[in-house]
């Protein structure tokens, strides 16, 4: 019961917004405005007619909100905020044209953050193009890290965890993703590290913020988080030449039951995947575990993005897909470090990319959640290098017991 078939069953259970009988009709205005289907469904034209005078306020509210956003964005544009296009290599004054898959659109982004001169920077910080990484042998061979390298990984990953925790603490309705990025940026610099995403292949910001239907690589921008949103913050820190990468999906205010289930299931997918990590296990197996758990919950697994090796390079071998029946090469060995970062969708597994060239969204506009850890394979199992600390904020009800 995954992916596309879930859509069919969702339609069958839609109920009339007025009388709660099974619904087979929807308001055309709501469709135009891409408003949620749940409030826009009716059993008959008569019921729709009867509900009309109160229902139409939903349109007004959405249109006013859209105008308000438009005004806010115009103000920002006049202050130098611009829309990101061409993978971060260019900016435009106007919202790029796109058939947005859900309610979310691109918002303007702020100007570039500064990194102090004394911070050690990776080679892409200067001109946006990694040189060492793409040409390294480590793209083909999985590195076995020395005890010294492992110690540096532990240090970096701890800093990355603390940076993410700092970001988590500011999340609430009304905060923009740009403000979250600022927190990440400042916290990383304060710890003496460089925020790896900044200028990586021209990525314009210091972390990825992915709201609702955004799967990953969302660019922090002027949009304010709204009550009911879910938002993933993905942090990677480069400290003393070594990278640590993690992400978590957070609840903004009061979130609906379906979103809570989505986030919890995604958390569990990562948990179950980590549970099988030890020497001798095939990398291919991760996809089987993730897929099994997601499918059982009626959710789908994103296939375009995968886990990756990490260390002195941001991304390197191995590639770890999260879907089943993949041809990933190799088995785990003690001393290897890599990430597992399943992205789980409420609807279809398919993704599309925004005009900014980075933001991946679900093709059907439904929500997506993700969790990620950097892991070390030990002689007997696994060490979660980016694990929660005693100081990490209490944001998941299933962890508070």
């Amino acid at each position: 019961m995954a992916g596309e078939s879930a859509d069919a069953s969702t339609i069958a259970t839609l109920s009339c917004a007025r009388c709660e009988k099974p619904a087979h009709l929807q308001c055309p205005k709501c469709m135009d405005l891409k408003l949620p289907r749940e409030q826009a469904s009716f059993c008959t034209q008569e019921c729709f007619k009867a509900a009309w005078s109160s229902h139409k306020s939903v349109h007004v509210k959405a249109q006013l909100s859209s105008i308000a956003t438009g005004d806010q964005n115009s103000d920002l544009i006049s202050q130098g905020w611009l829309y990101c296009v061409k993978k971060g290599q260019a900016r435009t004054l106007k919202l790029p044209h796109f058939d947005w898959t859900g309610p979310l659109k691109q918002y303007p982004i702020s100007t570039k953050c500064v990194v102090p001169a004394e911070i050690e920077k990776p080679d892409w910080a200067i001109d946006g193009t990694p040189k060492v990484e793409p040409n390294s042998d480590l793209q083909h061979v999985v590195e076995i890290k020395t005890p010294e390298q492992i110690q540096r990984m532990r240090e970096t990953c701890k800093i990355a965890r603390e940076v993410l925790d700092a970001a988590a603490k500011v999340i609430r309705p009304g905060v923009t993703t740009d403000e979250i990025d600022r927190v990440v940026h400042e916290a990383t610099i304060a710890a003496g590290g460089y925020p790896s995403p900044l200028n990586y292949y021209f990525f314009p910001k210091s972390c990825c913020t992915s709201v609702n239907e955004v799967i990953c690589h969302g660019i922090p921008d002027a949009r304010k988080l709204e009550d009911g949103d879910i938002v993933n913050v993905d942090v990677t820190v480069c400290y003393k030449g070594c990278h640590g990468d993690l992400n978590e999906t957070y609840f903004v205010g009061n979130v609906d039951e379906a979103s809570r289930q989505l986030v919890k299931c995604t958390y569990e997918c990562l948990e179950k995947a980590i549970a099988i990590v030890k020497p001798g296990v095939r990398f291919r197996e991760i996809g089987e575990v993730v897929n099994r758990h997601a499918t059982m919950s009626g959710l789908s697994v994103v296939r375009s993005y995968c886990g990756h090796g990490i260390g002195d390079l941001f991304h390197c071998a191995p590639n770890i897909p999260h879907y089943a029946r993949n041809k990933a090469v190799g088995v785990m060995k003690a001393g290897q470090t890599f990430t597992i970062e399943p992205m789980i969708n409420a609807g279809t597994w398919r993704d599309r990319t925004w005009p900014d060239g980075w933001t991946a969204v679900t093709a059907d506009g439904k929500r997506s959640a993700q969790f990620e850890h950097t892991l070390l394979v030990t002689e007997t199992g696994v060490e979660v290098l980016t694990a929660r600390l005693p100081s990490s904020p209490d944001v998941y009800p299933w962890l508070t017991k």
């Binding site: 929807q26 007619k49 349109h59 993978k87 690589h217 375009s304 990756h308 029946r325 990319t353 059907d364």
Partner: protein, 374 residues
């Protein structure tokens, strides 16, 4: 401004009468998505071979042929790095060649499953109304294996493109010289890799050599790669079904593999070329255990057991406790074993495995296969 716009909005909806409600259907966007998953993906044939062997001649022959197919040819200089920034697309349409430079956006390379080349090819397919096939003509690529690895995608990705076959064009007049040439004692000339990894080999310019020389050459090619389909040609005028729509990497398309493995003629080459690169075929009549087979293959392909270097591997497998014939495909370290179809009642269930590679040890392989018995 806001107030007026807001009032405008309110006015719009002041009608007493609601519009006609619309029948609920799956989202149009979802429908588009669903239907796109039904479309057949476009095959990509990789054309490789030495400069001057006749690759361009082949490409022109295909583009000029009146076969009614829309074929895009991508000419690419692959250096150290397989990346495509710009590619020239020649679209043969009813004989006319339309040249078009296409800017292929550099795909996001971080943590993506699909290489930027694949993303570029997918963009190409999406852009065109109807594309029947893609030819990827390579220059400067000594070894087609990395390209095959990139293009041989998991079925799960439901990509708009799929690897169809690797075609090597060899120059009949110069091949012998190219095979004997060594840059240094530890490396082989590119000709070996191009032959070993090919699904189809076009032996071109046969008009420049005698019949006997052709026969000898074909034997020599088969001694390196017994599985490849060798076609002789003059000016690359070949039957296009040998290059287009071969489906050599399709897990569903087994008939060619089956017929190859059915031949009584032994595929094992005994005349060892100087290079030590050859084809080896081993068989086992009893059904074997799937888990053991995987471990055994991984030891060979991933751990380079006994220093054997396997380039390609294909097999028909009889798996314990299954009524399905399984097939195995491997290109360097990437392999897959999938059930293909049900064994029929009359069929003689057996395992037949073909290895193409360097330093293949027949005894080690045979005993390894025997150990896969349940």
């Amino acid at each position: 401004m806001l107030k007026e716009e807001a009032e405008g909005v309110k006015m719009e909806d002041d009608d007493e009468e609601p519009p006609m409600a619309i029948q609920i259907q799956p989202d149009v966007s979802v429908r588009k998505i669903l239907s796109s998953s039904d479309t057949v993906s476009v095959g990509v044939s990789v054309i490789t071979g030495y400069l001057g062997a006749g690759k361009s001649t082949l490409v022109n022959y295909i583009l000029n042929g009146k076969h009614g197919k829309r074929i895009a040819v991508i000419l690419n200089e692959f250096g150290e790095e397989i990346g495509v920034e710009r590619a020239m697309i020649n679209e043969g349409e009813e004989g006319a060649i339309v040249e078009e430079w296409v800017e292929l956006a550099n795909g996001c390379v971080c943590c993506t499953v699909k290489h930027s080349l694949v993303q570029a090819l997918e963009q190409l397919v999406q852009r065109k109304d109807r594309l029947d096939h893609i030819l990827l003509e390579t220059t400067g690529l000594a070894n087609p294996a990395p390209l095959a690895s990139i293009l041989w995608l998991d079925d799960q990705l439901e990509s708009e493109v799929k690897l169809d076959c690797i075609v090597t064009v060899v120059d009949a007049k110069n091949l012998r010289f190219q095979l004997n040439e060594r840059r240094d004692s530890s490396s082989f000339s590119e000709a070996f890799n191009q032959i070993a990894f090919a699904d189809t080999i076009i032996m071109n310019k046969v008009d420049l050599i005698s019949q006997e020389e052709s026969d000898e050459l074909e034997k020599e090619i088969h001694s390196i790669n017994s599985l490849a389909n060798v076609i002789r040609s003059v000016r690359c005028q070949v039957d296009l079904s040998n290059i287009l729509n071969c489906q050599a990497y399709d897990s569903n398309h087994v008939s060619r593999l089956e017929s190859l493995l059915e031949t009584n003629k032994s595929l094992t080459t005994t005349d060892l070329h100087d290079s030590g690169i050859r084809t080896l075929c081993i068989s086992e009549p009893q059904p074997i255990n799937l888990d053991k087979v995987r471990l055994w293959l991984e030891e060979i392909l991933w751990d380079k057991k006994s220093e054997m270097d396997v380039y390609r591997c294909k097999a028909v497998l009889s798996i314990q406790n299954s009524d399905q014939m399984h097939i195995l495909q491997a290109v360097r370290e990437i392999y897959e074993i999938v059930p293909a179809r049900k064994w029929s009642e009359e069929e003689n269930r057996t395992n037949k495995i073909v290895f193409i590679g360097h330093k293949l040890d027949e005894e080690v392989l045979r005993s390894g296969l025997r150990d896969c018995r349940p």
